[in-house]
Structures are given as structure tokens and as C-alpha cells.
């Protein structure tokens, strides 16, 4: 992919992010932060590339280190979001 197509995706995604985040209800801002934390760990993709590649042992170990850190975030982030969201309940109908 050339730079311009990547940049276009990025700019469009910024706009999508802007409108989607404004529609998030303030009551859920803490879960929002937890879940954005989890998804920003998609950086694990880069970590996996580095760990899987041959050629540089240092690079591989740096990659594996990043896989550990990102996994803490992915599992921790989604799990804690799930836990918080499960607590939001509506008033019971009488």
C-alpha cells in the first residue's frame, strides 16, 4: 500500500472516531477508556511480526517482550470492561 492510501484511511478513521466517541454516553466514559486501552494493544500485531521473524535474536526477544505487555492489556482491558459493563443495570420494573 502506498503512503497516500494509508494516510486516507487514517484521516477517515479520525473522523469516524470523532463522531463515534461523541455518541458515547458520559456514564460509560470509564469503560470507554478501558476498552480503548484494550484495542490500542492491536500493536501486538507488530510484536508478533517481530517475534516470528528470523534474522535478529535481539529483535525477536524485544518482540516477545512486547507480546507479553500487549497481552496483559488485551486480556486485562477486555476483561475489566466486561466486568464494569455487567454492573450497569436498569431499574427493576415493579
Amino acid at each position: 500500500m502506498d503512503f497516500i492510501s494509508i494516510l486516507s484511511i487514517f484521516v477517515m478513521a479520525c473522523f469516524v472516531g470523532y463522531y463515534v466517541v461523541w455518541s458515547v454516553t458520559p456514564a460509560l466514559h470509564t469503560p470507554l477508556m478501558a476498552v480503548t486501552n484494550a484495542i490500542s494493544s492491536v500493536i501486538v500485531v507488530g510484536a508478533l511480526v517481530a517475534s516470528a521473524a528470523e534474522g535478529s535474536a535481539v529483535s525477536k526477544w524485544l518482540g516477545l517482550g512486547a507480546v507479553v505487555l500487549a497481552s496483559v492489556n488485551i486480556f486485562g482491558g477486555f476483561a475489566v470492561t466486561e466486568r464494569m459493563l455487567a454492573m450497569y443495570k436498569k431499574k427493576e420494573k415493579k
Binding site: G17, T25, I39, V67, N73, G76, G77, M84
Partner: protein
């Protein structure tokens, strides 16, 4: 020329799908009813991205990778299960620091083995454009890491929440930032190790320097800002890797953090730059002590509060950070339940900056089983104080201070606040008369005719009120 790891088109499609699923994950948060489905979309998206990467790249070291995921995943999962809801702000700060460090490690790994990332020829010369992306990604990642560590220490109370002001810090910070940008530019000409090493070290340092002058009350903004940074770091790495999932996610997280910072600043009537410059609360706290005059105030008891609220028609409860500190949310819900049984109309009012992170109070009330349709935001409930018989303030202070409306010299002037002074009776739960809010300003509400101060630990006081209500 086998170095170009051409990504098959099905894989590009898979990354796009996972990017879209992440958008749906955030979209789900527009209402508590759809939020859990959204979270599942996020999990599916992450699984697709990880599996696609593993399948399209050599899996020579699968056992190590599986081990790394198991270790990290285990730690993350157990932490997420055990963490107390009141400790959520520091957990989020800690998580941000991990994203930042992971970005730095990935950036350095890409620098050491550029062929694996398809950004260099067989001669090992990295493309100049990739060098900029890599340099920026490492810099933003390192700032996110060290900044989040400081935010974590301040939020967890392991470090004083008061601002630490170094002499000449603005010049120092600006100089360091310019040096980092200059080095990133120079990196395109010279890919020696010292350049990337200096960028990394300087960025770690600037992260510390940027956050230490910012006081505890501004932490909601800082946490949101670091959230945004972790997104931009992921986006920069996405540019290096030409990966759509990373770019979309980075942009989403980056804008999300930026919007939250904006909302928090607006709720405090502060400019973003003034928050970032730091030092808020230091001057006011230093000057306020001597000038404070003695004014008469009334002390109430748990019995007074129980009696008045039982007789009331409308009660509005305003929780703040003090409620979180004393873990009073469960007792508070119990009080609400008893009052509701007595036929009282109970509502909760939450200020955008109550607590230490956006939405902190909502999560705590949800944890205590308060239905979310009894919880209202500032602009939705502020007009109702005129009809309220009782405003029950627990652990909040600055967000009910009328000086924000009237006193132009006040540091919190212009901040939107609750109109509690319109309520017929005010109960103000506070540990002692001595303490002031984070902004370090006195509060006229303490001394108003209809105000009764309930001086005690918040949890203890609410429990006493519940007992008194039973009589």
C-alpha cells in the same frame, strides 16, 4: 529480493474487518444496553488481527509466542478480576504505560530487523519515510510509558498528588521536545544506533517531566491525554507496518482520548494548555490558608439527616471523590433504597470531573447496584435543584462551589457547578471543616443558612443515617 513480506489480500481484508469491529466496539458504548455486545465485537476483532498475523508470518517460534501470550494474558486477566472499582483510574494508567512500552519495543525491534517488517532492502537500509514513522512511534510510545507511570504513582497515592515544579521547566520541556523532533528529522539521513537510542531516552525523560508538575485534581485530563497518546503511538506503528487494523484503531483511540480531555477541560473551565503547563492548585493552596476568616456554620447529626430526608419529596445525592476514598457507595445505595421505600424520589447527580477519571462515579454507583436510570449528568439535573427538598453532598466540594458562578477572582471561576444553593436543605458530608477542595478554595455552601455539615468519614456517616432511618 525475498525481503518484501507481501501481505496477501485476504489478510488485508481481515485487518480491515477487525478495524471495523473496533469501531463497532466503541459504537456499542452509546448505551449501556448495547455496550456488552460492543465489547464482544472488540474481542472478535482482536482475535482476527492476531490470528491473521500469525498465519501470514512464519510461525517458527510458536511455543515462545504462545508462552508470551499466556503469561501476559494470565497477568492481565487476574488483575482485571481482582481490581477494586475505586482503583480503576490507576489501573487504566498502568495499562496505558504498557501500551507505550510495547510500542517502544516494537519500534526498536523493527529498527533492528527491518527486513522482517518489509521496510528495508536486502542491504538493511531502512526507507526514510519508515524512519520518520518509526522515530515518532518510539517517541510517542516512550512519552506514554513514562508519563503513565507518573500518573499511576500519583493516582495510587504512592507519590504526592501535589504539583512538583522544577525551575525553568517550560524552557527545559520545550527544548527537549524540539531536540526529539530534530533527531527524528536527522534520523532520515543517518540510521545509526545512537540516534534512535537518544530519541528513546529523551522521550522517556520528557514523559516524566511533562506529568510531574500536574496536580491530582487535573488527573482526569492527564489520564485521557495519555489514552490519546497510546492511540497515536499505535497509529504511528500502523504506518510503519502498513497495517489497516492498527491505523484505524490508533485513530479511534487517539480521537477518543482527545475528546475526553476536551470534555474534562470544559467541565473545569480550563484551557488544555494551562492544564498541561501544570502547577494548578499550588498557588491557591499556598495563599489561601492565612486569609480564611472564621464564619459561623451549623453541624448536623445522622438523625437530623435521616429525619429531613424521610420527610422530603425529592432528594438529590451528589457524590465526589471522597465517596470513592471511603468506599461509601454501597452504604449510599442502601440509604437510597430505604428512602425510596419511604416514597422519596431519589436521584444521583454526577459532575463530569467528579472522581479521578471520566465516568469514575458512574462505575462506582453501578458497582453498588444503583440503576443507571437514576443517575444524571450535570446539564440534565441542574434545573431540578429548585424543586429539591434535600441536596446530599458526599465527598464532593469544588463541583458545588457557588464561587464558580459569582467570584471572578476564584481559580474555579467559570466552571459549571451544581446549583445546590437552590435546594431547601443541604447536607454536606465532609471529614472535617479544615480541608478544602483540590482547587484549594473555601466554599460558601458550608456557611449557608440551609446547610448542615455532617462531619465524619463518609461511609460511617451514611451507615449511621441508614440506622437512624430504621427507627
Amino acid at each position: 529480493m525475498e525481503h518484501v513480506t507481501a501481505v496477501p489480500s485476504w489478510a488485508m481484508l481481515a485487518y480491515l474487518v477487525s478495524g471495523v469491529l473496533f469501531i463497532l466496539a466503541l459504537r456499542g458504548l452509546s448505551s449501556p444496553a448495547t455496550s456488552r455486545a460492543g465489547n464482544r465485537y472488540g474481542m472478535i476483532g482482536m482475535t482476527i488481527a492476531m490470528v491473521t498475523t500469525l498465519v501470514t508470518h512464519g510461525i517458527a517460534s510458536l511455543p515462545e509466542i504462545a508462552g508470551a501470550i499466556a503469561i501476559g494474558g494470565g497477568v492481565g486477566f487476574v488483575t482485571a478480576r481482582k481490581i477494586k472499582m475505586t482503583d480503576m483510574p490507576q489501573l487504566v494508567a498502568a495499562f496505558h504505560s504498557l501500551v507505550g512500552l510495547a510500542a517502544v519495543l516494537v519500534g526498536l525491534a523493527a529498527y533492528l530487523n527491518p527486513q522482517a517488517f518489509g521496510i528495508a532492502g536486502a542491504d538493511g537500509i531502512i526507507e526514510p519515510q519508515s524512519r520518520i514513522e518509526m522515530g515518532l512511534g518510539i517517541a510517542i510510545g516512550a512519552i506514554t510509558f513514562s508519563g503513565s507511570i507518573i500518573a499511576f504513582l500519583k493516582l495510587a497515592g504512592k507519590m504526592s498528588g501535589s504539583p512538583i515544579l522544577l525551575p525553568g521547566r517550560h524552557v527545559l520541556n520545550l527544548g527537549t521536545l524540539i531536540a526529539i523532533l530534530g533527531l527524528v528529522a536527522y534520523f532520515t539521513q543517518d540510521q545509526s544506533q545512537w540516534v534512535i537510542a537518544t530519541i528513546t531516552v529523551l522521550s522517556f525523560i520528557i514523559g516524566f517531566l511533562l506529568i510531574i508538575p500536574i496536580g491530582g485534581a487535573d488527573m482526569p485530563v492527564v489520564v485521557s491525554m495519555l489514552n490519546s497518546y497510546s492511540g497515536w503511538a499505535a497509529a504511528a506503528m500502523g504506518f510503519t507496518l502498513h497495517n489497516t487494523a492498527m491505523i484505524i484503531t490508533g485513530a479511534l483511540v487517539g480521537s477518543s482520548g482527545a475528546i475526553l480531555s476536551y470534555i474534562m477541560c470544559k467541565a473545569m473551565n480550563r484551557g488544555f494548555l494551562s492544564v498541561i503547563a501544570g502547577g494548578f492548585g499550588a498557588e491557591a493552596a499556598a495563599g489561601g490558608g492565612a486569609a480564611k476568616e472564621q464564619r459561623p456554620w451549623k453541624r448536623g447529626s445522622a438523625e437530623d439527616a435521616a429525619y429531613m430526608m424521610k420527610e422530603a419529596e425529592n432528594v438529590i445525592i451528589i457524590p465526589g471523590y471522597g465517596m470513592a476514598v471511603s468506599q461509601a457507595q454501597h452504604a449510599l445505595r442502601e440509604m437510597g433504597d430505604v428512602l425510596k421505600k419511604e416514597g422519596v424520589n431519589v436521584k444521583y447527580a454526577i459532575h463530569p470531573v467528579a472522581g479521578r477519571m471520566p465516568g469514575h462515579m458512574n462505575v462506582l454507583l453501578a458497582e453498588a447496584n444503583v440503576p443507571y436510570d437514576e443517575v444524571f449528568e450535570l446539564e440534565d439535573i441542574n434545573s431540578e435543584f429548585a424543586q429539591a427538598d434535600v441536596a446530599f453532598i458526599i465527598g464532593a466540594n469544588d463541583v458545588v462551589n457557588p464561587a464558580a458562578k459569582t467570584d471572578k477572582s476564584s481559580p474555579i471561576y467559570g466552571m459549571p457547578v451544581f446549583d445546590v444553593d437552590k435546594a431547601k436543605t443541604i447536607f454536606f458530608v465532609k471529614r472535617s471543616m479544615g480541608g478544602v477542595g483540590y482547587a484549594g478554595v473555601d466554599n460558601d455552601v458550608f456557611y449557608m443558612d440551609q446547610t448542615m455539615m455532617l462531619l465524619a468519614d463518609a461511609k460511617k456517616m451514611v451507615e449511621d443515617i441508614v440506622k437512624a432511618l430504621a427507627h
